[in-house]
Symmetry: C2
């Protein structure tokens, strides 16, 4: 991947309607990350991940995040050339020290150990510590589910949530994800912040000058507000779904930070206040639980397919991941829509030569 | 445990203020379940579980449930003398066929295999199939957490939830629970329905003649209603927290029903309509994931204690399980308050002799 490629690939691939191909977007992101200090293998993993989010319409984890990646890398905040250390702490328990690098390459570094644990025991718990995770969680799980495994994962980092009763941010947006194989179809993959919104969506809403629903977060002095800028600058998001969402968020802290040996989100708050746009994920933890469903009752994926068919038949038209698969299919036909964030990415990629 | 004991124990243990001791309540419930067809060991497990819920103020899973247990047992709907079959399907994967009996004795039957799996691999997945679970989930996890293990569990059974867009009940209330050890304190245990309310709480609210918040469930023709009776009889509960709670509920179906080989909740709906008060849990599944935190980073329970202290210091006064531990301590000092349900239990226990 040379520095020249993004420009040519990007411009060649954009059609008249303002579209860019997936491969060209991966190239543009990758070369930008390399220029900021990422090693080529790390850049390749992150670029593919980020471009996948953009392609699937998950814009709050797409190209919008690239400036944050760049700042985190160029400031030395994240180590873009970290060498993860994988350690088998039990037949089913894998520890990964991301060594202040990103979670995604740390997970990939553990792939062999994961396969062995699953083969030997039916289950793999993967505890990633001291990492950075700026992306969605579904890209981490979808490949496992496509290979026939069940997966759960969760991540902490950057205090931005103030539960009712608390006087300051004590929790991260603490996303949780789950994926299951489905016979004859794409995996069912769900991925949601345990806060009312993800931090990225809150930023995008603020930048677009839109309001949020009351109940999304609190502002100055803990008051309810529909102004996303006030939530970002003077208050915090709320957990979704009242005390139940709060309970889930606590679980994410205990598993993704406590069990992995990473910082709890409340220990990250200063970092977050300084650079909200890069996710503030110092010493973030991620936990994955992967299960071979063939150890359970027979015919698992077929039964899940029947369950999903029954839900759709009962009128549930939209299931988790439907919108992503739809956007992906559309992007496969016509390319990825070029947003202002992509235009900036492509312009920045060529500016050193201009 | 003789048939005479409940009366004498019950009456002796109640003080003037209408209190009953925990042990006397266990006796009264146990003898009632034996009279309905449960084997003494099954009755002892269920009675202890049910009395614990009552003692801890979780009344919707307390003595209120005894008539449902009795009907399920005496009708042969649940097998109160079932012999669970435990099978190790992987070093970390334990299948338990509850053989149409209750989940709690099935879990206890697997204790030895669980301890071995944890010791050998660090993780145990327990997949219980074809069971009945009328109780809360926290009593299943709290003992593991008290022994130093992390636990997650979830259960399905009886379609009573209609997500927005669906035309009929397709999901159970699908509770989810998590427990963690805490150094120097009681375990943190959270347990919540992925519906807006548990079915038991909805019934209790209807019986008390109270209303529910709009958004709790839908009634006739899918309309929003605040009448719990209309939700029970002509509509269904909603998932909590919109599409995120729905996603969690789908996960519970896939893990607790799909993976274990039990009926999905939507396959249980006829049963449920016939006997809502006994939980309608034919062929219910339960999944547990138990993890030894000592395989992760060191000092786990101490770090969780620090996290909880930080939350309380920030103003979060009420954390999950606080109210149960408070009720338990109060019951330990003064006994368990005698409710109308307990009075009926004690009266029924003596009536054969009257």
């Amino acid at each position: 991947m040379s520095e020249n490629e993004p420009q040519s690939a990007g411009h060649d691939a954009r059609d008249d309607a303002g579209r860019i191909s997936f491969d060209a977007l991966v190239e543009a992101i990758g070369s930008t990350l390399i220029a900021a200090g990422a090693s080529p293998p790390v850049a390749a993993i992150l670029a593919r991940n980020c471009a996948s989010c953009e392609r699937d319409g998950a814009l709050s984890h797409g190209v919008f995040r690239v400036p944050g990646y760049v700042r985190s890398l160029s400031s030395g905040w994240a180590n873009g050339a970290a060498e993860p250390v994988v350690q088998r702490a039990g037949a089913s328990f894998i520890r990964v020290d991301a060594a202040d690098g990103f979670s995604q390459p740390a997970l990939i570094a553990a792939e062999q150990e994961i396969a062995e644990a699953i083969g030997e025991t039916g289950v793999a718990v993967v505890a990633i510590r001291d990492s950075h995770h700026f992306s969605a969680l579904w890209p981490d799980l979808e490949p496992f589910a496509a290979d026939g495994l069940l997966g759960l994962t969760m991540v902490t980092g950057g205090a931005s949530v103030i539960p009712r009763g608390a006087r300051r941010e004590v929790l991260g947006t603490n996303p949780f994800a789950f994926a299951s194989p489905v016979a004859g179809g794409r995996p069912l993959v769900m991925d949601f912040a345990t806060s009312t919104m993800s931090h990225g969506d809150l930023q995008l809403t603020a930048e677009a000058g839109r309001k949020v629903h009351l109940g999304t977060g609190t502002g100055r002095g803990g008051r309810d507000t529909d102004d996303p800028r006030e939530i970002l600058d003077e208050g915090g998001l709320l957990p979704f779904g009242g005390h139940k969402g709060l309970a889930l968020s606590l679980m994410v802290e205990i598993l993704a930070s406590g069990l992995t040996g990473s910082a709890f989100s409340y220990q990250d708050d200063l970092v977050f206040a300084e650079s909200p746009e890069d996710g503030g994920t110092a010493r973030t933890g991620q936990l994955l639980i992967l299960i071979d469903p063939d150890r359970g009752a027979g015919g698992f994926a077929g039964r899940v397919a029947e369950f999903i068919a029954a839900l759709r038949e009962a009128g549930l038209e939209r299931l988790p991941a439907d919108h992503r698969y739809r956007a992906r299919a559309e992007a496969g036909r016509t390319g990825i829509p070029v947003t202002p964030a992509i235009r900036e990415l492509l312009a920045a990629a060529v500016s050193p030569r201009g």
